[in-house]
C-alpha cells in the first residue's frame, strides 16, 4: 500500500481533514479513513448522488475550501471511506476494516471522530421510532428527506432548532418542538458570536413561519405506543400535554465521542476536534489544523507552532450557549418509574440500578448490574447512571475503557492484511 509508514487519521470531517492537510504539507504521508461512504463528517455530511444539497452557501464554501486543501496535497493524502477504525493496541498496531482491511503500524494516530449526542432516559425511549435528533439530521443532509410520518422533536439544545428548521425547509415541519430550557434570553444572547445569533434567528424564523408549536421550559416525560404510532407525554408551564407522532427525535446535548478511545505507549495518539472537546465546527477546523501542525512538528523534530486562539473564542461561546440552555431536566431522573430502561443494550432498568445499593462500585455496576456491558460500551447510559447515583458529581465512565473501540467482526479481523514490519520509534 505505502512504502512509508503513514500517519493514520480516523475521521474525514473538518478536524480530520484539516489535520491531514497540515501533516501532508509538512511532508508526511497520511491515510485518512472514515466509516461513512464519503468525507464530510457530521457537520458537512454530503448529499448522496442526485440529491439536492441542503447546506447553505457559506457551509458549502467552507467545505470546498477544506477539500481543496486536501486535494492540493495530492498523493500524500489517501482517503478511504467505508472503512472503520477498530482500535490501536499497545504495540501500536491499528486495525482497519471495511473497504480497506488492514492491520498496520502507523507513524502516529489522529482520532477525529467527532461528537455524539446525549439522550436522557425517559419511559418509552427504547421504542422503535424513537431516535436521536442527529439521526434525523443525518437523513436530511444525505437524502434531503425527513423521516416518514409525524415527527416530534424533544429534549434540549440548539440542534433541535436546526433540525426543526431544516424539516420546515423540506416542507415537512415537525408536529412540535419541546425544549426544556428557555433559551430566548435576549440579554444573554447578546454575548454570543454574531454568526451563532444569525443562525439561530434564521432557524426560529422558519419554525415560526411554518407555525410549528414551540414549547419552552417543557419536558418530555414519557413515550408510549399510541393508536397509530407513538404518543408523547410532556409537561409544560401550562400543564401536561400529549402529542402523537410516528417518529420522535430526542436530543439532550452534544458530547465528545471518546468512548473506547485508548492511547498507546508505542506511538503518538492525538484526539482532535469534537471528540477531544465538543466545541463545534469552527473550533474543529482550528483544532485540526493546529493539532496536525503540532504533530507534524513533533514527528519531524521541528519546533511546535503556537496554539490557535480560535479555540478559546469557541470555548467562551459554547459556555455562554450552555448557560442559555441551562435547565433542571436532569432532576427528573430521580422521579423515573422503576421500570425505565437506563442501559439500552442490556435493557437494565432503574430498578436494576437501585438494587445495587446507594454507592455501587464500577465493578458492581458492570458485573452485577451489567450496566455499560453492552456493545455501545456505556456511551449512552454511563452519564445517566452517574447522574442517578451521584447527582452532584461529574459523571464518569463506568470502569476501565473497553477495548477494542467497537465490536469487530471476527471475519474482518481475520481478513485484515497484515503490514506490521515498521519499527516503532
Amino acid at each position: 500500500m505505502m512504502s512509508e509508514r503513514p500517519v493514520v487519521v480516523v475521521g474525514a470531517g473538518l478536524a480530520g481533514l484539516a489535520a491531514a492537510t497540515e501533516l501532508a504539507r509538512a511532508g508526511l504521508v497520511v491515510l485518512v479513513v472514515d466509516q461513512a461512504q464519503a468525507a464530510g463528517g457530521a457537520v458537512h455530511r454530503q448529499p448522496l448522488e442526485g440529491v439536492a444539497a441542503v447546506a447553505s452557501a457559506a457551509q458549502a464554501r467552507r467545505w470546498s475550501g477544506v477539500m481543496a486543501g486536501v486535494q492540493a496535497q495530492g498523493a500524500r493524502i489517501t482517503l478511504r471511506c467505508g472503512t472503520r477504525f477498530g482500535g490501536v493496541d499497545h504495540t501500536g498496531a491499528v486495525l482497519l476494516s471495511g473497504a480497506l482491511n488492514a492491520l498496520i503500524r502507523p507513524r502516529a494516530l489522529v482520532l477525529a471522530v467527532g461528537a455524539r449526542e446525549a439522550v436522557q432516559p425517559r419511559p418509552g425511549w427504547t421504542l422503535p421510532g424513537v431516535m436521536t435528533a442527529g439521526a434525523i439530521q443525518t437523513r436530511i443532509k444525505t437524502l434531503a428527506e425527513a423521516p416518514p410520518g409525524r415527527v416530534l422533536l424533544a429534549g434540549s439544545g440548539p440542534l433541535l432548532l436546526a433540525v426543526g428548521a431544516e424539516m420546515c425547509r423540506l416542507g415537512r415541519p415537525p408536529v412540535a418542538l419541546i425544549e426544556a430550557a428557555r433559551p430566548l434570553q435576549p440579554l444573554a444572547a447578546l454575548g454570543l458570536p454574531l454568526a451563532y445569533l444569525a443562525e439561530a434567528a434564521g432557524y426560529l424564523a422558519r419554525l415560526l413561519r411554518a407555525r410549528v408549536p414551540l414549547y419552552w421550559g417543557a419536558h418530555l416525560t414519557r413515550i408510549e405506543t399510541g393508536e397509530a404510532g407513538l404518543l408523547a407525554h410532556f409537561d409544560t408551564s401550562k400543564g401536561p400535554r400529549r402529542i402523537g407522532a410516528e417518529v420522535i427525535g430526542l436530543h439532550d446535548g452534544i458530547r465528545p465521542n471518546d468512548a473506547g478511545l485508548t492511547a498507546s505507549a508505542a506511538l503518538p495518539v492525538l484526539r482532535l476536534g469534537d471528540c477531544r472537546e465538543a466545541l463545534g465546527a469552527r473550533a474543529a477546523l482550528a483544532d485540526g489544523s493546529a493539532g496536525g501542525a503540532a504533530l507534524a512538528a513533533r514527528l519531524l523534530g521541528r519546533a511546535a507552532p503556537p496554539a490557535a486562539p480560535e479555540l478559546d473564542r469557541q470555548r467562551a461561546a459554547q459556555a455562554r450557549l450552555a448557560r442559555i440552555y441551562a435547565h433542571d431536566g436532569a432532576a427528573r431522573l430521580a422521579d423515573l418509574p422503576d421500570d425505565t430502561v437506563i442501559c439500552r443494550c442490556e435493557m437494565r432498568t432503574l430498578a436494576d440500578l437501585r438494587a445495587l445499593g446507594p454507592a455501587p462500585t464500577a465493578r458492581a455496576l458492570r458485573l452485577d448490574g451489567r450496566f455499560a456491558m453492552g456493545a455501545c460500551q456505556g456511551r449512552f447510559c454511563a452519564e445517566w447512571v452517574g447522574r442517578i447515583i451521584a447527582p452532584t458529581t461529574a459523571p464518569q465512565p463506568i470502569g476501565a475503557t473497553r477495548w477494542p473501540t467497537r465490536p469487530i467482526a471476527v471475519a474482518d479481523l481475520l481478513a485484515a492484511s497484515e503490514d506490521l514490519e515498521g519499527e516503532t520509534e
Binding site: 448522488e49 442527529g134 439521526a135 428527506e145 439500552r344 443494550c345 442490556e346 435493557m347 449512552f380 471475519a411
Partner: protein, 84 residues
C-alpha cells in the same frame, strides 16, 4: 432508485448510496427484531455508535445505519444482541 433490498419477504427500493437503516425507515420498517436481551433493534443514533440497529446480512451481523444498500441484498433479523 437503484435496486431493491429484501426484508421479511418484502422487496424494498433504495436510493443509490443510502444505508439499509435509511431505506427500511422509508418503507415504514421501524423495528429490526428483538435481541436476546429483549431490546428491540431499531435505528437510534444513526452513526454506528449505539449498536441498536444491528441487522444480519448473510452470516454477518452489522449496524444497519452503516451498511450501504446493494441490489438484491437479503437482510434478516440479527436475533441475538450484544453483550460482554
Amino acid at each position: 432508485m437503484s435496486g431493491v433490498i429484501h426484508w421479511q419477504g418484502r422487496a424494498l427500493p433504495y436510493r443509490a448510496g443510502e444505508s439499509v437503516a435509511s431505506a427500511l425507515l422509508r418503507a415504514g420498517v421501524f423495528s429490526f427484531g428483538r435481541a436476546a436481551t429483549g431490546q428491540t433493534l431499531a435505528l437510534f443514533c444513526g452513526i454506528g455508535q449505539c449498536q441498536g440497529c444491528l441487522i444480519r446480512e448473510g452470516g454477518r451481523v452489522t449496524e444497519a445505519c452503516l451498511l450501504a444498500c446493494r441490489d438484491g441484498m437479503v437482510l434478516t433479523p440479527a436475533a441475538g444482541g450484544d453483550d460482554v
